[in-house]
Symmetry: C2
Subunit: 372 residues, 2 copies
DNA sequence: TTCCTTTTTGACACCGGTTTCCTTTTTCGT
DNA sequence: ACGAAAAAGGAAACCGGTGTCAAAAAGGAA
């Protein structure tokens, strides 16, 4: 197999805009200016110094006299010179590209994270390249290896659920590629993680339900093998135990994080005698499914059943009733994650733990007295 | 102002892994191999040919003898050589980066589009860099100009609503940067657009409502200045006219594409005497708001009121009742848009029109006989 | 076999930056 | 004012590819 052979794309771009030779010289100059971006050589020539001196100015080297610096800066501004990132990347043997690896758990999460990353790199020369990956593909790791080899990224940011894949982290290490994983718990060293405190915040959510008077509380778990599902379930169990509440097996539903699974799992919980008065769902999609299941059975939410979701996705705010849920500070996590790679010394890059918090809306109420 | 001065990030990476001098030589060799990626020179030396010949093989040049090619390919595979994209970019004076400019209209749209783009470029050496932009920022154009100057992208893909900004397209042209705009209508030349047929498909949607027996049909329009809002409203008007139905001013609501605006605008429509039996909403978020407004008033959907949204966003499928809406083939559009840039000759890159289609779910029913 | 094409291959400069190493200038202590 | 040390600036090589153009090899006709 060829390693990344170029499927030569049709040539297009500046070279196309040829200019008839008979155009007036002045226009020629204008065209030349707009056609050819100035290089460091142009700056050096115009300023009457060597390339190296210009390079020093660009890189904010300390050993440049003030007037020299100012003169060169003026020329740079005048010419509109912008350093060529490819040339820099080649000379420095590292580029300024961050990668975002994700397996589309939730579109809003991915986008918020992207914005956080952009917050961090906006003022720098870094750019963010995205790479959706297919968790179910048998060649996922090979694909990613190929991607990393080919693009030679400065570092990658990995979103859940694939962030939980330790082989992937090992691959990054092996390839000398920086990485930061986002997750529901500390999956790795501080410098490689931005993590929420799912376990703890789910405990708070259960506390809140108990505080509202609920005793029979069910859970719809996320799929096995997902760390987030595990943490949330653990938090649920711990809280129930703390309050001395039992969790009969029929109050535990198993879901897949998909809407349909919430629908059916909640249906099972609700069709049993002594059904729960509240259900914690491990994500919002399943919570929306649970809401449907309740509605199909004529069970009022929140009158007869309280529901709490997780993710604070847009759907949580836009269904009826607006759903109480748990939200991660995703944008902040994205920013911190990017900073861990591009400015590890920055103060804001030190944070690794980002507490999620309960977003109280209308899907939780005290249990109806008749049933509780 | 300095043009993109490097905020020198802490140095990190391969150079860090120094190796104590006393390590056995064999280990040194192993380290050297894993530490330093092979270059075209290594391949050339190992194969006993010149760099240029290797380059020809990489680029699938026709004028290479078969045995030579095979010999070099073997060496490449053996060494695990992958061409350095930065060096190629420098030598070719163009890089292999596509940009995605978007103003987060809808997270799922952005992500689907990204996946479409990836479908197109997966097997190539192109990568996709994302750039969320702030439509409301007064320096939006300057920011984008800076971004383009700095990254020197091969081309950019522009998502609505900023795709409707002609100044932005002009900027791309001026900078010699390829671009493709996604929109609700043909905003530009074929080669620069992937467009839906909003007007037409909204006509179909109205046809569908009329076919179900509705006569008093309202609309909640999107914000002024959005081409999509305009097209959808035009399609609505045209269809109503076609069916000989009048559109009293009080059946026209003005929204902002946000949930809240749908809530209040629908409220106004529903609080009038002779309220509509069906409402077309220019996007799903507003449709969800309209649904709430109905529910707040005890109006059954779809029993007393039918609603059609637009976008086929996840929320449409996950609220109750599942909402009839209009969906763009976003992924296909993303793929075609990318191909227009990277392989303009490709057959799939010729398509510019992507018909949206009505997704029938449960929010439309014949009007209740009592009221109609 | 020899000569002339045609096909393959290689030497070398170049893309636009950075680094190394060295020279020139400035600063400063005495 | 002088010499030494420090600061500033420059020449040339290099990063890893590609383009140009000429040389070498191969093939074919005489």
């Amino acid at each position: 197999m060829m390693p990344g052979g170029l499927i030569a794309p049709g040539f297009r771009g500046k070279a196309d805009c040829r200019m008839p030779a008979f155009l007036p010289a002045v226009l020629g100059i204008v065209m030349a200016k707009s056609t050819k971006t100035p290089t460091i050589n142009d700056v050096a020539r115009a300023a009457g110094v060597s390339k190296k001196t210009v390079s020093r100015v660009i890189n904010r080297s300390a050993l440049i006299k003030k007037d020299t610096r100012e003169k060169i800066e003026a020329v740079i501004a005048d010419l509109g010179y912008v350093p060529n990132p490819q040339a820099r990347a080649l000379a420095l043997r590292r580029n300024f590209l961050l990668g975002l690896l994700h397996d589309n758990p939730n579109a809003q999460t991915v986008l918020n994270f992207q914005e956080g990353v952009l917050d961090a790199i906006k003022a720098t020369e870094f750019a963010l390249v995205v790479r959706p990956v297919d968790r179910h593909s048998p060649h996922m790791l090979e694909d990613i290896r190929h991607f990393l080899e080919q693009q030679r990224l400065y570092g990658v940011l990995i979103l859940p659920p694939i962030s939980e894949n330790d082989d992937l982290a090992a691959l990054c290490r092996e390839m000398g590629c920086g990485y930061v994983r986002m997750g529901s718990a500390m999956l790795d060293d501080e410098e490689h993680v931005v993590a929420s405190n799912d376990r703890e915040v789910v405990e708070n959510a259960v506390d809140y339900l108990v505080g509202s008077g609920h005793r029979r509380i069910g859970i719809i778990k996320g799929p096995d093998g997902f760390r987030s599902a595990f943490e949330r379930a653990e938090g649920f169990m711990a809280a129930m135990k703390k309050h001395g509440l039992s969790i009969p097996p029929e109050a535990i539903g198993q879901g897949t994080y998909r809407f349909d699974s919430g629908l059916t799992a909640a249906g099972r919980l609700l069709d049993r005698p002594g059904r729960p008065t509240a259900i914690f769902c491990s994500n919002d999609e399943m919570a929306a499914g649970a809401l449907h299941a309740a509605r199909q059975r004529g069970i009022e939410v929140p009158g007869d059943l309280s529901i709490i979701g997780f993710d604070d996705s847009p759907i949580a705010a836009h269904i009826w009733p607006p759903m109480t849920t748990v939200g991660w500070p995703i944008r902040e996590m994205g920013k911190a994650a990017a900073l861990k790679l591009v400015a590890p010394a920055d103060e804001a890059a030190q944070d690794s733990r980002f507490p999620a918090r309960l977003v109280k809306r209308l899907s939780v109420a005290p249990p109806s007295s008749g049933r509780s």
